[in-house]
């Protein structure tokens, strides 16, 4: 009877609609704030998704502890925000006038935050004179000639291969295809990459290597070039591997990385962060790395700048920490903590590190030929362009159109968005 009454009462019906409507209400969440103790050290919050990484997190926190114990005026407080929601969480906080003092952003979020005026200009705040900054990654830290970030780490994409399955790493795309085919037997696959809409960001990261590796680019810095011939060629190479049946179709990254560790996947293109993660969970796995065997030595990189939130009340202290990180000995310590990633400055690997991981120079040798996985000149629009490109590429993979048609459509759609 109560139900009948509910349906008959206009007020109750209105309340029901309001309750239903609430779901459609776009809302944002506030962020955390930092605190300065009265007499104690100033607390500066530093948000990075890598603080929550089981392999990297403790090493990075140890570096922060070293800084905290080196002086008494400032306490850096690490804040781990999970990677999948990192950008959304921190950017929403910053948009609301709050957020952490220091942030380790990925490039898409970095460009979006800089474009929205949420980042402190670092030209005056951080002295980079006399530092031997890595020129490749550092060029992306400036927007319209102004510096908004310092490279915290750069993780270049390489080809990982399972030594038990692939004895000799391929050096050309044809060899890559042949090796993948030769390795594929039963439930063992020669290669794995992401190819589902549910992993849109991952697909973008993967196809980035094919596009750049075949001489393409998403833009010339001023105009979109999504349907450039080289891009189509690279994506057709990606599709040829998909069609050849050498990958576990439908498998997400978590699945095929598990398969790699179980000797069921021979090769994978991935970044330096994968080294620490794989070693941590599969210490007995025999694998090595080689440059991606595509015609052009150009590949993607997870480039992560450290930035100062313009809402921060402790900008000077935050800048002091960045300058401390940039000191030679701390760069060495940071690079050692990061494993296969590069840091802001040219830094030598220790003999011990090279003995443990002899193939580290492969990663380092790619630092200046790597590009961040954004659409250059359209950084803040990368997420929108990514969605369009990935949707069209997947439609091509599923046989609904050719790759050339896919990229023509993507070019048209994306051009409307960027104006």
């Amino acid at each position: 009877m109560a139900a009948r009454h509910l349906l008959r009462t206009p007020l109750a019906a209105t309340a029901l609609v309001l309750a239903a409507g609430l779901t459609f209400t776009a809302c944002s969440s506030g962020g955390g704030s930092d605190e300065a103790g009265g007499d104690g050290p100033v607390t500066v919050t530093f948000a990075a998704s890598t603080f929550g990484d089981p392999g990297l997190g403790p090493r990075l926190k140890s570096l922060v502890d070293t800084y905290n114990s080196s002086q008494t005026a400032v306490k850096i407080e690490p804040a781990a925000v999970p990677f999948p929601t990192f950008g959304q969480t921190v950017l929403t906080q910053m948009g609301g006038g709050e957020g952490p003092d220091l942030v380790r952003f990925d490039m898409p979020e970095f460009t979006a935050a800089a474009d929205a005026g949420l980042l402190e200009q670092l030209d005056e705040q951080v002295d980079t004179a006399g530092l031997q900054l890595q020129p490749g990654p550092d060029q992306y830290m400036k927007i319209d000639g102004k510096r908004y970030g310092i490279v915290f780490d750069t993780s270049n994409y390489v080809m990982y291969y399972n030594i038990d399955l692939v004895k000799t790493p391929p050096k050309t795309f044809d060899e890559f295809m042949a090796t993948a085919k030769k390795t594929t037997k039963g439930d063992v696959y020669g290669l794995a990459f992401r190819q589902t809409q549910a992993e849109e960001n991952g697909v973008w990261q993967d196809i980035f290597n094919y596009v750049y590796g075949f001489g393409g680019a998403w833009s010339d810095g001023t105009n979109l070039t999504l349907n450039k011939a080289e891009n189509v060629k690279g994506l057709e190479a990606y599709q040829s591997l998909y069609d050849a049946g050498v990958i576990p179709k439908g498998a997400d990254a978590a699945t095929f990385r598990k398969m790699f560790a179980q000797n069921k996947v021979g090769m994978e293109l991935n970044n330096g962060g994968y080294l620490v993660a794989t070693r941590g969970t599969n210490p007995d796995l025999k694998f090595s790395v080689a440059p991606i065997p595509f015609p052009v030595r150009a590949q993607g990189a997870i480039m992560a700048p450290i930035v100062i939130n313009t809402n921060s009340e402790h900008k000077d202290q935050a800048a002091d920490f960045i300058e401390w990180v940039l000191k030679s000995e701390n760069q060495t310590a940071l690079q050692e903590a990061l494993g296969a990633s590069s840091v802001a400055t040219v830094t030598q690997r220790s003999a011990k590190q090279l003995e443990e991981t002899p193939f580290l120079p492969v990663y380092d040798g790619l630092t200046n030929s790597s590009a961040p996985q954004i659409v250059l000149g359209f950084g803040p629009k990368t997420a929108d362009i990514r969605k369009i490109v990935v949707t069209q590429v997947i439609a091509a993979l599923q046989g609904q159109q050719t790759m050339a048609q896919a990229m023509d459509k993507a070019q048209d759609e994306a051009s409307k968005i960027v104006g």
Partner: protein
């Protein structure tokens, strides 16, 4: 009779007898509705007429109907709208099935048998499980490589494609829908069970004594009592289907090729991928209008049913 005896005694005006007392009792609920529902809704309406970036929400620009014009001009949004309507319609059809089977289960649970308590508890498991867990389990079961359901479907000759059900544009929406109905089913059963328990036993007994069979007892005694509850369940399931987010997001993220991209997925994408709060609010308003239509339709149906009763 004295005049004083004819006059009804004046209501007491003590602390609980004031004519303001009902309003005082209503105040918390009214305040809740205003603060947590009406204000955000009005804010959303305003937001939908502005160009507002997530990263600079305080610097919005009034653009009138521009957001609405843009989203309706977009072929993707039209597909999203179509997908939403298909999903909701399919959910309503699925809900009918769920209501039917929920009714059978509720009737079974309402009867007396050994282990009835355990059976009642077990039936509620899908509803009690968090939506995230349900979505993850469904995703694993439908995994293209090792999913048990994928293997079972392949074993019986269903062509799920090499990339599996969730990446198959023909099957993804159906997979999400089946998971949705599976999750909703216990709610239907439990609510119907409580409605069935409100059916007066003496009426049932009287009908039986008059020689009515089970079908007639259900039609003449049980159904009139539980009909409003069934109507409410159908309405709620429709609205919930319209606004369902986590299940779809976790299973497909709106893919493949936008086949499971409903309004709420589009709203999220506009707000947090494209960072366009104004456009997201406009998408939300479209959802609210659809919800209004559903509620109005449901009320009309309820009224018509009452007239015929």
């Amino acid at each position: 009779m004295a005049h004083a005896d004819l006059v009804a005694p004046r209501p007491r005006r003590g602390a609980l007898g004031s004519r303001w007392t009902p309003y005082v009792f209503l105040l918390p609920a009214a305040a809740y509705i205003v603060v947590f529902q009406a204000v955000p809704l009005l804010q959303e309406i305003y937001l939908s007429f502005t160009r507002t970036n997530l990263l600079n929400p305080t610097r919005s620009t009034w653009v009138g109907l521009d957001n609405y014009a843009r989203i309706f001009a977009s072929a993707h949004f039209r597909q999203t709208l179509l997908t939403t309507l298909v999903y909701v319609l399919a959910c309503v059809v699925g809900a009918v099935g769920a209501v039917g089977s929920g009714l059978v289960v509720a009737l079974l649970l309402n009867s007396s048998f050994p282990g009835r308590g355990i059976a009642r508890a077990l039936v509620t498991v899908p509803w009690a499980a968090p939506g995230i867990a349900t979505a993850l389990i469904a995703t694993w079961m439908l995994n293209a490589q090792y999913g048990v359901l994928t293997r079972a479907l392949r074993a019986v000759g269903v062509d799920v494609g090499e990339s599996g059900v969730l990446d198959n544009p023909r099957l993804a929406l159906a997979a999400v829908l089946v998971t949705t109905v599976w999750q909703l089913f216990p709610f239907v059963a439990v609510v119907l069970l409580s409605a069935l328990q409100a059916v007066p036993a003496e009426l049932v007994e009287a009908a039986r004594m008059d020689g009515a069979g089970s079908g007639w007892v259900f039609r003449a005694v049980t159904w009139p009592v539980i009909r409003p509850t069934v109507g409410l369940i159908a309405l709620l399931m429709t609205i919930w289907s319209l606004r369902r987010f986590e299940l779809i997001w976790l299973m497909t993220r709106g893919g493949p090729l936008g086949r499971t991209r409903t309004l709420v997925i589009d709203l999220y994408s506009q707000a947090f991928d494209s960072k366009q709060l104004g456009a997201a609010a406009a998408v939300g308003m479209v959802g609210i209008v659809i919800a209004l239509v559903v509620v109005a339709g449901s009320r009309a149906v309820a009224r018509a049913a009452e007239r015929t009763a």
